[in-house]
Each structure stands twice: as C-alpha cells, then as structure tokens.
Symmetry: C2
Subunit: 490 residues, 2 copies
C-alpha cells in the first residue's frame, strides 16, 4: 500500500521519512520496560506505554519449545477448539447413588483410592496417611492404627489415584470399597464419574481424621443417608447439575469453597422427595439437618459434575488443554489432553489464606485434593468473581475475587455458555486452560482450597489460595513439543 | 492566617493578589454548569470541574422550607440519629403463625386491609378491586363477583390500610379475617408486625385474580400450609430473620424482587422440623414443593421483618426520616417519623421494566403494594448491588444495580451493620431515608417491583423499577416546615 504524500494545497509533505523523524515532534510507543519511557517522558516526549513481557519470562528453552509446537505439523488451535467444545457441551447429570465396589471401575476390596497423582505410602503426607488409616479401619481391614499403618506400608493394599477410576475426592480423597458414591453421567458423551459423600467440617476423614466419631459418621452415611438419597433421587429422577451450578453461580457460590447456595438448592430439590419415602421422620430429619449444617455438602456434587465433563475432553490428539489438575499433599500433578495418561508433577505448595483460631501456617499440610477439578472445568477459583463473599473464607478483598477471574481469561480458550457471572455482565466463566498460555504468560491457574493440618487425625485448619508449581507446566510443554513439535519425531 | 510571600532566594513574590491574578496562569474551579468550563478550556485554561446543582432544583419555595427547618428550634440531625438508630438496632424475629382475626390489631370479620395509603372502593384500581372481590368470596361475605362488588360499593365492609394495623401486604395487599399471617416481633423494641403467606406467581389474589383456583389455594394455605408452618416454627423456636436476610444479601438476593436465596434458606431451616411433625408425608411434601416452586415465598417474610423494624422509628419528634412508603395502585404515599400518622400522597407511577411474553406497558396497572417497606428499611432496591442477577427480572445492567445502591447513600443517613454488600467491599446497605435529602438532591428512592395487569383477575405481567411522585416528598417537606420550622408556629 502506498501513502499519498501530496498535501491538500498541492505542496509535498516531508518526502524523506528519516529527515521527517528529526524535524517533527516524536511520538513514542514503548513496549515493556518502563525505564526507556521514563527517560523520554522526562524530556517532554509523548510516550504511549504498552505493557509487555517477553513470552515465558524470556526463557529460551521454553520459547524454543513453544516455537517447535507452532511449527509442528499439528493444528493445536483446532485440537483445542475440539477439546474445549467437549467441555462446553458437557451436561453433568446426577443419576444414582451406589457402592464404590459395585460401580467404580477397577475398585476392589483392597483398593484405596486417593487424591492427586500416584503416590506410595512412604511419600504420603500426614492427612493422607490419616485418611488411609481411617479407610482401612472403616473397611475392617485393620483393627488399630498400628495395624492399618503396617498393612499400608507392607503393600497389602493397592493405592491408586481417584482420577484413574473416573473419580475425584476432596482433600485426601480416600475412597474404599464400601463407601457410597454419587454417580454422575455426562449426558452429552455418556461417560460417568464418581465421588464420595461430603462428611461436613471439623474432624473428618478427608482432612485425615480417623477417630471413632469419624468412622461412625461414615457408617451412618453408608447405612442411612446414602440409601435415603438414592431412593429420593430415584423418585425425583436424574438431576441436571449443570443447571444447579449455573444457579449457584448467580447466588454467590463459585462451586469449590463457597457452596452455600448449591447446598441450599440441593436441599430444596430433594426435601419433598425425601419426605415422600415414607421413612421414619427422625431419620429423614437427621439427613436434612446434616445437609443443612454443612455448606460443603455440595462440593462432592460440583466435583464429580466437573470431572465427567472434563474427562470427555481428554485424549484429543494435538491438544494442549489441561484436563487434570490434582494434588496428593506431596505432589501437584497435571495431565494434558494430547498427552494421554502421563502425569507431570511438582512439589505441592503451601496455601496462603486465613487460619481458624488457634492455628497458623506452621500447622498446614501442603496443598491436597482433587477439588481443583472445579477450576479445571472453569468454576471454583476461576469463577471467584461470582462469589465475592468468599474472601471472608479464603482471604483477600472482593476486588481480588474479580481480578482473579479476569486474569484467568488470559490462560483459557473459551467462555462457558451456562456458567455466567452476573457482576461481569453475565460473562461466561473462563474455561479450558491452555498449557501454552500458562507457560507463555507465566500466569498460573488460581486455586482456592481448604487447608489440612499436617498431622493425621486433626482436620481442617483454614482456607486460602495456592499456586501450583511452575515446573509441571514447563515439563508438560517440553513433553508436548517432543511429541508434536517440529523436528522432534522421525 | 498570613501567607509568607518571601521566596527562598530572599526576593518578594507578587505582593498584590489582584495583580498576581493577571500575571500568573489561571487555575479555575468551576461549579455546576459546564458551559463556563468549556469556554475556559477552549482558551487553554486549566479547569477543575465540580459537579454541583442548586438544592431542590433551585425551587425557591422548597429552599425556603429547608431553610426554615434549619433555623427552627428542633435539632433534626439528632432526631434523625435517634430514629435511624432504632432501625439499625431493630431485630426482626419470626415468632408465630396466627389467624388475622385473632392477632392483627383492629381486625374484624368485615375488615378488608389493603396496600398503600387509605382509599375508597370507587378510587381503587383494577387489581385491587379484584383482590377485594377475592377476599370477600374467600370469607363467604359474597357468593359472586357481582355480590362482592355490590357489598364493597355499599360501604358494607371496612377498608383500611395494612399499615394502620402493623401489617404489610405485597401488591394489592388484601388481608381478611380468616387469613393466616406470619407474626414477627422486633426483639429490640417489642413491637409486632403481620403479613399473609405468599401464594406464588401467576393467577394469585395479590395481583387481583379471584378465580376458584386462587381461592382454593388460599384455603389450602389456611387449612394445611399455615398450620404445618406454625407447628414447625414452634418446634424450631423463633427464627432470627435479620440473620437470614443478611445471609441472603450475600447470596444474590436484595429482599424485594429477588428472593431465591431467602426462600432456599427458609426451606433448609424448616425442612427438618416439618418432617419431625409426624404428619402425612404427602401433605408435608406438598408444603415443601410449594415453597420450592415459588422463589417469592420469602417476600412475605422480608416485608414484615422490615415493617416491625421501621415501625420502631416512627413518632420521633423532629425527625425527617421516611418511615412509610406504600402504594395502593392509585396513590403513592409516605409518612414521616416526626409527622405522626399523616400521609402525603401523589399519583402512583407506571413501572418501567420487563414484561412477560404477550404483555406490554399498555396492560400495566400503576405501581401497587406495600413491598416498598423493604426499601424503607434499607434493602430491596437500596440493596440492588447485592443482587446483580436481578436485572434479568427488572431490566437494566449489573452496573445499573451497583449505581442504584451507590446513589441511595446520598439520601440516607446511615449504613446497616448487619446487611452488607460483598461487592461494595461489604459496605452496609443505605438505611434511613431523610426527606430533606430527597428534596435537596432531587434523588428519589429507587423501588423495584412487580407489575400487575390493570384488569382484575389476570395477574402479574412483568417487573421493573418505578419512580415515586415528587409532590408527596415536597408536600411532606412543607408540612414539616410548618410544624417544626422557624416562624411557623406561635
């Protein structure tokens, strides 16, 4: 394109652009470092500052890997669109309640499922060991703590991540054969997911407590609560959990650490059907009171709802979408849609947040649990703008909650059509984390979470925000470049 | 205070301020009209623009009344602080359910309470007439519509505003002798308030419908629902409604037209106690399903909760606090704390908002109902920032919802300690409307409301925002000046 330099009066404008540079006032566009702009401003030059950082913090190896992926034969954009469209179209429906042994794929009487990537007994943190001990006592596989520890250490039980069994578990995430589970179906793609029942706060198995009180509650859930909910659900019919989550996001929840609305919606949905079962009034009242007293009851529904949706996005060739994030209290791990079942791990972080009275950071176990499946699906921390009141639980200000959600749009590839945030003018939640964007921008996924005491048997000590380890994203990028990048494969 | 004009180098600065004005660059502060500032800006003068409008729109009579009040012997500020402190300290508690005839002060078998200021049958709008007809049929005082209309027109029944009987009613607000009512007590001051049960949406008495379906539902409420709730409440014990409203405001409600959280909280609170009554399961299930199907169930609880709190602020000598706002579909009326039971009225406005499919503004009755008691108490439209999702119901954008709440701080004298808005950094809701501030600023209280069809028997056609008539505030101000202003009394 040529530019006409003749002025309206017929004379010529400055013909030589280089000379023109010296004879006309400078207007400077400054990218990145402010020091250049500061110097020019001081000399009275007009400067437009553009915020810019080199990709991947200027790390040549990472930039090289990103470039190799770009020049590789795979159309990553198209693959990611396919993967995220599966998340966007997913419809999680609560279809039944069952016994883990009967319904969870690969479950045996000696299996102990746990949160996060694979881990051995030796490397487990305090609360996860506590939950394993509790699980073995609950199953009758051990009679005492010592017996349980011996059995766990001897290889007499099979440890396996929930995520390998279409399941998710909050905090320690321990699931054993007799435990009742919520059964979800992704109506769009037909796959299922599973999660135990939420036990409430305080001394509970998922925080590593295993006292008699904890085990009795688990037995009551198995013998009374779960059968009641199974029958009520049968009477009610399958429950569209996408709709419930969408409503909860308009009622100040984000589906991970603020679940007061979700729990309320579940209670009002089920109460009439629980009543119609013709069961003893006190038994039904106890079930309703239990749910009423525990606003996290809904967490064990939002998690499997997220799991069955994200699972459908796994295994898309050439996709850099993150389809798993999970922590076992020792390692934080992720899995990538285009890289199959391979985990990329780094050290689990320490949660920054608010502590319950009498506790401090010194008491905290590292980051633990599969509940970050909610963020992976585009809710939880990614939807914090919908839940400004959550800052009273995890720390920070309402403005921070808005800022976190806004920032997550920078590392995601789509926006939900169903999960919308009123205060952001009903914008859809940021959905589908692109590994490349995380590495390029250096923006890590925001995760809000509970904090477990580092010793087994104690329970919850606080809640806050946690950063995942950078290296697992970098390692995953290198692996992706090796698999799909230019010049990496024969 | 003298200003040292000696400069650091020992020479004198410009000694003559007038001469200085001409010799130094101008910096101009512009109050009000932008045209002056525009002219100066065009000449390169630095202008700081201050938004300013003359008080009371420059109306000399109103300014005179405001001045007379200021110069009068009464300390209005102190009186208002006393009045608003009664609102701030009020603790509304749901204590019982009763029959209107038995518990509502001044109720008789031939009394028909209605919303808004006093009105005769002749001046009643369509939906209010419809509700009166329905009330008379329900009480058996008439057998047909014609008979009811004849009775109403003949003076055979006593019409009276709910507000004269410590009561409030949404929309037409018709309450008759046999109707069950929620009984509230202001725990701090001991006064009580009353409200009927919410009937749901669609064809309902409060929107002027009176078909058999409407009357049958009212009878079911009287015979089944109310007795169940009365017994469940007795088992539960008095319910602190201030706490419930505070929670609902953190869950996207504002307590007037968005009550999904409030209704959910009530269901989860009562469900276990309803179950424990040992009643027939289907009967209890029907009660729970009715509440579940009607998110406005909570409106008839937030209204009397507001009423008993605001009533305690009435009758404070010298106070300009607005303690009643109410509409009967023909007139909008207010009452002032320092002016006793006197109503100041103006024509009820037309609601601007969103219409249900098939309806338009041509179908709308004027503004109607006592539900603006919520705004009078500092929630409802005044708390819209807590409920951005409400704009899908009443129109506008989430930004508008924030703006409305922010504007209401300009006409109120305090902020609630209990009702807090997360997105405004947990700021308390604007509470205690000062009549003087309304007139001075010209900012009218924001009211969001349902829209009734103008004909009796049809029901709800939409929802939106409505402006109260200016003249009732002006008339109240003149009356206040006459009672308390300088030189007005002997």
């Amino acid at each position: 394109m040529s530019v006409d330099k003749t002025l309206p009066d017929g004379t010529s404008g400055c013909a030589d652009p280089v000379l023109g540079l010296f004879s006309s006032p400078l207007k400077v566009l400054n990218l990145g470092l402010d020091s250049f702009a500061d110097e020019l401003s001081a000399q009275g030059v007009e400067v437009l500052r553009v915020r810019w950082k080199p990709p991947a913090g200027g790390n040549a190896k990472l930039i090289g890997a990103l470039d190799r992926i770009t020049r590789g034969g795979f159309d990553v954009e198209t693959a990611n669109r396919e993967a995220v469209s599966r998340i966007l179209k997913g419809k999680p429906v609560l279809v039944d309640v069952g016994k883990a042994l009967d319904v969870v794929p690969g479950m045996t009487k000696r299996t102990v499922l746990h949160a996060g990537p694979p881990i051995t007994w030796e490397r487990m943190c305090g609360p996860m060991r506590g939950a394993v001990i509790g699980g073995l006592l609950y199953e009758g596989l051990a009679k005492t703590r010592a017996e349980a520890e011996g059995l766990a250490a001897s290889g007499g039980v099979d440890f396996s991540p929930c995520h390998h069994h279409a399941s998710v578990g909050p905090m320690a995430g321990v699931m054993t054969a007799s435990m009742p589970v919520w059964i979800f179906e992704n109506e769009t793609y037909g796959n299922r997911s599973y999660c135990t029942f939420n036990e409430g706060l305080g001394k509970v198995l998922r925080y590593g407590a295993f006292s008699d009180e904890v085990l009795e509650r688990l037995r009551w859930i198995e013998k009374e609560l779960a059968p009641l909910m199974k029958r009520a659900l049968a009477l009610h019919g399958p429950l569209d959990m996408r709709n419930i989550i969408a409503q909860a996001l308009q009622m100040g929840d984000e589906g991970h650490n603020r679940n007061r609305a979700g729990t309320s919606l579940i209670i009002r949905e089920f109460a009439p059907y629980l009543v119609r079962l013709g069961e003893d009034g006190e038994k039904v009242a106890k079930a309703l009171s239990f749910m009423h007293a525990n606003d996290h009851f809904f967490l064990n529904l939002s998690m499997p709802a997220s799991k069955c949706v994200v699972d459908a996005a796994a295994g898309v060739e050439g996709s850099t979408l993150i389809v798993t994030m999970a922590r076992n209290g020792t390692d934080f791990g992720i899995r990538i849609s285009g890289l199959g079942d391979r985990w990329f791990t780094g050290p689990a972080g320490i949660v920054e947040g608010l502590y319950l009275p009498g506790f401090s950071a010194a008491d905290a176990a590292p980051d633990i649990g599969d509940s970050v499946i909610t963020e992976t699906a585009g809710i939880g921390g990614f939807a914090m703008a919908a839940a400004p009141a959550i800052v009273k639980f995890v720390g920070g200000s309402p403005e921070d909650a808005l800022a976190w959600t806004r920032r997550m749009y920078e590392i995601t590839v789509a926006e939900s059509e169903f999960y919308r945030i009123p205060i952001l003018d009903f914008r859809g939640t940021p959905t589908g984390i692109d590994l490349r964007k995380v590495v390029e921008t250096g923006i890590l996924p925001v995760i809000n979470t509970g904090i477990a005491h580092r010793e087994p048997g104690i329970g919850m000590v606080g809640a806050g925000l946690v950063k995942p380890p950078v290296n697992c994203f970098e390692d995953a990028l290198f692996a992706f470049a090796q698999t799909y990048g230019e010049g990496e494969k024969a």
